[in-house]
Symmetry: C2
Subunit: 116 residues, 2 copies
DNA sequence: TTTGTATATCGCAATATTACGATTAATTAT
DNA sequence: ATAATTAATCGTAATATTGCGATATACAAA
């Protein structure tokens, strides 16, 4: 199977892979940035916080932090609830449980495999 | 803390985060693409294979598959050993174990956290 | 009503990523 | 020696991502 037209550069074509593969890749991709790892680790430490707390914690502009929070939220890695004038963010343990299971499953499959 | 010069766009500045945060982000980023998820899942199924097997399995050109394999190998997610004229690839269970532990640790921290 | 606080969105610039075909390099078979 | 096979690398084009400042929005306080 190959592309049927000339438009084939630079874009990840979701229709070439299974829905499950695209789904797991999207979640993992959202975590694949040091700023977003730092946000997750900060959330683990403080349990719950608002955006401006993270802006104080990390060396990035407010708009950049907001963007990263949006990506984490879209991927289901964090939850954000409106609380007065600010938004209360926390880890979404459901998605992290999914990731833990995914990697746990890989480890089970890999056990007593002999490699080249 | 802010950037001290004007060069600040589009680049992820590794020096802004801890070595550990950059390390985990790099590994996770390498997995954050459906083609690379598909390669890993194929390797889990067949245990061991060569590049041309994957080229037959996935709807991508040989050069593209080779590029993805390089990224997975650089991240320590797969191993590749020369075997005659071809290269034998397999999962590197060490790095997947690291990921499993990372997410396991997050789950432990998240347990009995009450969110907003 | 105006001011302040908190966050999201817009527009832009620069770099990174993804994908291809073509080529190269290295090994094996004829 | 030549041809075939396997995989990596190069060059290129297009899209995606990252980051900023500026602006917009929404609510609370004065």
């Amino acid at each position: 199977m190959r592309y049927t037209n000339n438009i084939h550069m630079g874009i990840t074509r979701a229709d070439l892979f299974t829905a499950e593969q695209n789904h797991i890749a999207n979640i993992i991709k959202a975590l694949g940035h040091p700023a977003r790892i730092a946000i997750i680790e900060y959330l683990l430490k403080v349990n719950v916080c608002i955006c401006s707390d993270i802006v104080e914690e990390l060396p990035l502009a407010q708009s950049t932090i907001s963007q990263h929070l949006k990506e984490l939220k879209n991927a289901g890695l964090i939850k954000g609830n409106i609380e007065g004038t600010s938004i209360c963010y926390c880890i979404d343990e459901k998605t992290f449980g999914f990731l833990k299971n995914y990697f746990g499953g890989i480890m089970v499959n890999t056990q007593n495999q002999k490699c080249c």
